[in-house]
């Protein structure tokens, strides 16, 4: 478990303290994929670098498995860092070394493994990230997605318990992003390691994260399970991020439905409810008429969900809404 206790960070610029992160508390559980989303300058880069102390907090404690890493002397800190892998937006591979040498590098630094053991581990890691044929290439000969796979293999070399992802997919095209995210999800599942990722894309959070924290101007304005935050965003910043991930209409916030007759409702389905024909059954039973204004059916990580914006008309709308609620569908009224 990673725990931030009253942690804050400010930078000294020209003799003045500029706050980068307001005091906050946060817990990240073992084995979860935790997303931190924010615009550039919100402080997410700083936050993720606190976990391996690439940035030192101005105050507070950072506990990893109950050890306060801010109090560790240098050699112990270096040992702790060897158990925390990190991947980067721009990959940060050694351009003078081959793929295999890049992956072997953290093991050579850590010591304690002979060259045969290192070679075996490199082989294993290359298999895992699907680059078995590229061992002797140089990074400049690889595509962006392949470079990030090398980054991931390198980060996993010393069998870390935590993997930090610093905008790991921001420099990749959508298709490559999808495959890298899939690899991260697979690693999380199979190796049971904790992943902390920062991003400015809600879609990345939606696809792989279990929980998310929304960072705005150095403050965590909202955090919780991705499904809750995604389907019921509270803070304005969160809403903006969610809306970016949705087609414009489905967001429903600023789309004028005044001219649409009936009551404008937003229905959110989660899990099994997404696949059952509840809406059809309820409207048939109550005689309520509906018109779909916007909608989306997708997944949040492995959880299927649907969100529909409807205009409902008829005498029994309230009764229908109750029946829908009873079936486990969440309902918000947008306009009457």
């Amino acid at each position: 478990m990673i725990r931030f206790v009253d942690v804050h960070k400010s930078y000294r610029v020209a003799g003045r303290d500029i706050p980068a992160l307001e005091p906050f508390n946060l817990e990240i559980a073992d084995g979860e994929v935790f997303g931190i989303i924010g615009h550039s300058g919100a402080g997410k880069s700083t936050l993720i670098r606190l976990i391996n102390l690439l940035e030192r907090p101005s105050g507070g404690r950072i506990l990893i498995e109950d050890t306060d890493i801010t109090a560790l002397p240098d050699p112990a800190l270096r040992a702790a860092r060897q158990r925390i892998g990190m991947i980067f937006q721009h990959f940060n591979l050694l351009s003078s070394q081959t793929v295999a040498e890049n992956i072997a590098f953290p093991m050579r630094i850590a010591g304690g493994k002979d060259s045969t053991a290192i070679r075996q581990r490199v082989e294993e890691l290359l298999q895992r990230v699907g680059l078995a044929d590229h061992a002797n290439k140089f990074p400049s000969q690889l595509s962006g997605g392949q470079k990030q796979r090398v980054g991931i293999a390198r980060a996993l070399a010393n069998q870390p318990s935590i993997l930090l992802c610093d905008e790991a997919t921001s420099a990749l095209d959508p298709q490559t992003t999808a495959s890298v995210l899939e690899l991260l999800a697979e690693i999380n599942r199979e190796l049971k390691l904790t992943i902390v990722l920062i991003t400015h894309e809600m879609d990345v959070v939606r696809r792989v994260c279990d929980r998310v924290a929304v960072l705005d101007a150095g403050r965590i304005v909202e955090h919780g399970a991705v499904a809750d935050v995604f389907l019921h965003p509270q803070h304005a910043t969160t809403r903006r991020f969610v809306n970016e991930a949705l087609p414009e209409e489905a967001a429903g916030e600023h789309v004028p439905y005044q001219h649409v007759p009936g009551r404008i409702m937003r229905l959110s389905f989660r899990g099994a409810a997404t696949w059952s024909p509840t809406l059809g059954r309820v409207t048939r039973e109550t005689g309520v008429d509906f018109n779909i204004l916007a909608g989306r059916i997708d997944r949040i990580k492995d959880l299927p969900y649907g969100q529909l914006t409807l205009a409902m008309q008829g005498d029994n709308v309230d009764k229908a809404l109750q029946a829908l609620r009873d079936a486990g569908i969440e309902i918000e009224e947008l306009a009457r």
């Binding site: 391996n52 690439l54 800190l77 270096r78 040992a79 702790a80 860092r81 060897q82 925390i84 990190m86 980067f88 721009h90 940060n92 591979l93 050694l94 351009s95 003078s96 070394q97 590098f105 953290p106 050579r108 630094i109 850590a110 140089f138 990074p139 400049s140 010393n158 930090l164």
Partner: protein, 230 residues
């Protein structure tokens, strides 16, 4: 081959009395160059690494130490080499027991070139991507491991370019050194070519120096090309 071409050379440059002396001067120049280049790298490389590490915003930023080092480097670089040679003569005598010849030339050559090379090293290291260094820190690397396994290998193309530039600068210095008793090609050019009006000496030594510089540059370019991977 050299023996066969000798009559031809004697016809071309009739004023040159002693070709053996010229050959010895070539050897002296090469000895001065290789000896001083080796020591310049041995001293300048760590100095450059230290300049880099202690610089502003770097791994071990130490403004005061950096300020002092930087000042010393700048002072040594601003003294014209011919003056520097004279100034350091007492030190030269203490170090190698003579102020003359190949041995006497090497200490001032190194003192003149090492600060220059150190600056080139500092610049080369600064070009290494910050992200790569950050990644190594995140892996738990020590500063020494970062220098040894990240900074120097990543910068090796620019470092070799720096060695090439330094070697060529040293060729110039050795020739200058000839004027005050260092021997070598510069010495011949000065004594016979300038003081005795035997311009053939001047022409031949300059031609030899041009060839030497060309060879050094070609060799350097090849090494740099070999190490450039991105």
């Amino acid at each position: 081959m050299i023996a066969a071409s000798l009559p031809l050379l004697q016809n071309l440059f009739p004023n040159i009395d002693d070709w053996g002396e010229l050959g010895q001067a070539c050897i002296d120049t090469l000895l001065m160059l290789s000896g001083s280049l080796l020591l310049t790298v041995v001293i300048g490389l760590p100095l450059g690494v230290l300049l880099y590490l202690t610089g502003k915003g770097q791994l071990h930023a130490m403004p005061k130490l950096y300020g002092v080092l930087s000042l010393v480097v700048n002072v040594l670089r601003s003294i014209p080499f011919i003056i520097l040679m004279i100034v350091v003569m007492p030190l030269t005598y203490v170090l190698v027991g003579t102020k003359l010849g190949v041995r006497g030339a090497i200490p001032p050559l190194v003192i003149g070139a090492a600060p220059f090379f150190a600056r080139l090293v500092e610049t080369a290291l600064r070009e290494v991507e910050r992200g790569v260094i950050e990644a190594s820190q995140a892996m738990g690397a020590t500063t020494w491991q970062i220098v040894r396994h990240v900074l120097l290998p990543e910068a090796r193309a620019s470092l070799w370019a720096g060695v090439t530039v330094t070697a060529i600068a040293l060729v110039g210095y050795t020739a200058m050194g000839g004027a005050i008793g260092a021997g070598g090609l510069g010495d011949l050019a000065y004594r016979y070519g300038y003081l005795s009006y035997k311009s053939d000496y001047m022409v031949v030594t300059v031609l030899l120096l041009i060839v030497l510089v060309q060879l050094l540059q070609m060799l350097g370019d090849r090494i740099v090309a070999h190490y450039s991977r991105s």
